[in-house]
Amino acid sequence: MKSVVTAHKENRMKRGFTFGIGMVLALVLIISSCGSPRGAAEPTLEFDPDQTYNLTMGTFGDLEAAYSVVLRSDHFRSRFPNINVTFQSADFGGHHDRLTTQIAAGERTNDIEALEVAFIALFVEQGDALLDLNQPPFNAPSHIADLVDFAVAQGQTRAGEQVAIPVDIAPAVLFFRENLAREAGANFRDLGSWEEFIRESRKVTGNGRFAVPNASDVALIPLAGGKGGWLDAAGNALEPRGKFMESLNLVAAVRDAGIDADLNAWSGPWIESFANGTVVSIPNGAWWGGALRTWVAPDVTDWRVTYLPGRAMSSLGGTYLSIPASVPAENRAAAWEVIKYLTTTAEAQLLTFDTIDAFPALTTTYDDPVMSEPIPYFGNEPVRQIFADVALNMPSQIVSEYDRTIESIWGSIIGQVIEGDLTPEQAYDLALRQVRSQID
């Protein structure tokens, strides 16, 4: 039998424990209900040319290299001597992870944040984390009419908010090695269809040589690059079915034809394959031309550029600029001036293009003489005209907060089709089931 003292002690302990748990829960509820104000509702102050603005800008990859040149240029300094910008740069993943964490925690971000398109809808549809630039005093529609249509559409939410402005785009083309193709009796220029591509690819395949690095390289081409377009206007996933079946059938056909080298993207052998003749072609965004020329295969002289088979219009990349809702009201107008300068002035767009090969989103630059210049690396052909033509004819796609989720599901499914574990039909049905399970 317990003594009275022991029982009393136990009761006290129990009361103390209950009290402790109660305190923790109360603390959780109090702190949770407080929440940090996001500042989206704060009125944005007008831009004051007499005030000095010290802004910060979050960038990834080599964007800082380009924008720091642009923002130090005489043209920018003469227009905005009162705006100073400092950069916070990281690699692609690190930049978006940092931004995701800051937004989720309601923390102050940089005044301007560069974004990859898949993050735009995620941040906005889940809680207005980026400012709607259609609203005054930004009035984006009156400034961005000359930006390429499909990219402007990708910067919009399904509700029509313009939350990010395209600064560079990556129209997709087919890069191919002309001499290697000619030696094999193949021709990759202006192919009329993917069937023709596979036929020509068979000619170059053999003796350790392949047409493309991996069958998955063609997976997103029928989906116009996969940056949006995963839901239709009514919100149905993976519709129209035909578009997605085309992607699955194409991947299966490429693998079945044995024309891909089965290399993992960005692995050592993958990178070497562009210089040592293992692969003869790859569909990729315009930026890939800069990579080939500068570090992937600078000594190879026969890389050329042509339209994708069947003149498929696709975009594989691109950068957007945005103003997060946590930016203080007094900095927003100046941040918008910087974004407008980088995206809508030919000087900034062409200087960025010249510095890091980021293809302009501003269509008025497509008439600039620089766009017709012969490019020595690509056999002195005016390849930028092809990039511009693709950019102008790209279809607009609806973006949604589920794009990143669906893209990764699609990546798994494509892997199973390539391995022959699923037929295209089975793959589509499975993908649809998996995607639906993730959508609210």
Partner: protein, 306 residues
């Protein structure tokens, strides 16, 4: 009465409170960085909490969804359990004999072996997985080269298909943690009196019999500790499959071959922005670990009584 005590008395400090004040820094920090996040994660699991903002109270919907609508959670649980047996628990089958061998004074250079076996555990996970990714590359990897050129068999598509993905992760886990478990068992072995073995030897027991009748029964508390660590670590498996399968680019690789519960938790929370659902998975995972470690406790208790 010392000057300090007099000073405390002067400012009215109650000596009964002193111990609590002295231990309070730990409890304050624990409350802020330990209990509060735990409580908050439960709070989150009851709400439609998104990456940005809270869409309202949903009750247990985040939990029920995992067992009804979700196409990935079941796969993640199955994968985790398979990897738990082949990756986390299998280590002990190798670690105990290795500890016995390394503990033997007859083994020359046993201290060097200890260091070598323990080295994988202190190697960076990311570096390890990247190197394993190269070794297991189905085109250019060393392992397939050996399988094809030395053994004359067909190469395995280690990271491209669901089954081989699990085999790759299991091999990696065993390689990393066998040495760690070996060191734990070594510590246990050193606590067993040598006289017991001498007495058994006099009674005619062979080496195998000695270890079966003396070593294993006396190691049971250590086995419980080691297995508990492996169970907890195994259910929380994340780093290795995440790095090996390209992070968030695919949902655990082709066929979700490497999707574990913790991996899926991260995908839901930080890729898909569904923090509420991610928190629900964390609590389900907590209860799974609680049940499994309790069962482990019961089994080892019963074995000890024998």
């Amino acid at each position: 009465m010392t000057a300090i005590t007099r000073m405390w008395d002067k400012i009215g400090f109650n000596q009964k409170l002193a111990p609590y004040v002295f231990v309070s820094p730990f409890f304050i920090l624990f409350l802020i960085f330990g209990l509060y996040p735990i409580g908050y994660s439960f709070f989150m699991s009851l709400f439609d909490m998104r990456l940005v903002g809270n869409r309202g109270f949903v009750g247990l919907a985040n939990y029920t969804r995992l067992f009804t609508v979700d196409e990935f959670f079941g796969t993640a649980v199955i994968n985790t359990v398979i990897l738990l047996f082949t990756g986390s628990l299998l280590q002990h089958v190798f670690a105990i004999p290795m500890a016995i061998i390394v503990n033997s004074p007859r083994v020359i250079g046993r201290h060097t072996f200890k260091a070598l076996f323990f080295a994988p555990f202190i190697t960076s996970t990311v570096a390890t997985v990247i190197i394993f990714g190269m070794v297991f590359d189905h085109n250019f990897g060393l392992l397939n080269w050996i399988i094809e050129n030395v053994l004359g068999m067909e190469g395995i598509r280690w990271t491209a298909r669901s089954g081989p993905i699990k085999a790759t992760i299991s091999i990696l886990l065993n390689w990393r943690f066998i040495g760690f478990n070996m060191v734990i068992y070594l510590a246990g072995l050193q606590g067993i009196p040598r006289e017991l073995y001498e007495a058994a030897a006099i009674d005619g027991a062979g080496t195998v019999q000695q270890h079966r009748m003396i070593t294993l029964p006396l190691l049971i508390p250590i086995i419980f500790f080691g297995v508990s660590l492996s169970l907890i670590g195994g259910f929380q498996l994340f780093d290795e499959p995440f790095v090996l399968l390209g992070g968030y680019d695919t949902v655990g690789g082709p066929g979700q071959g490497g999707l574990t519960i913790a991996y899926y938790l991260m995908i839901l929370g930080f890729k898909n922005g569904r923090l509420g659902r991610g928190a629900a998975i964390a609590w389900v995972l907590f209860f799974i670990i609680l049940i499994v470690t309790t069962v482990n406790r019961l089994i080892t208790n019963r074995l000890q009584k024998k």
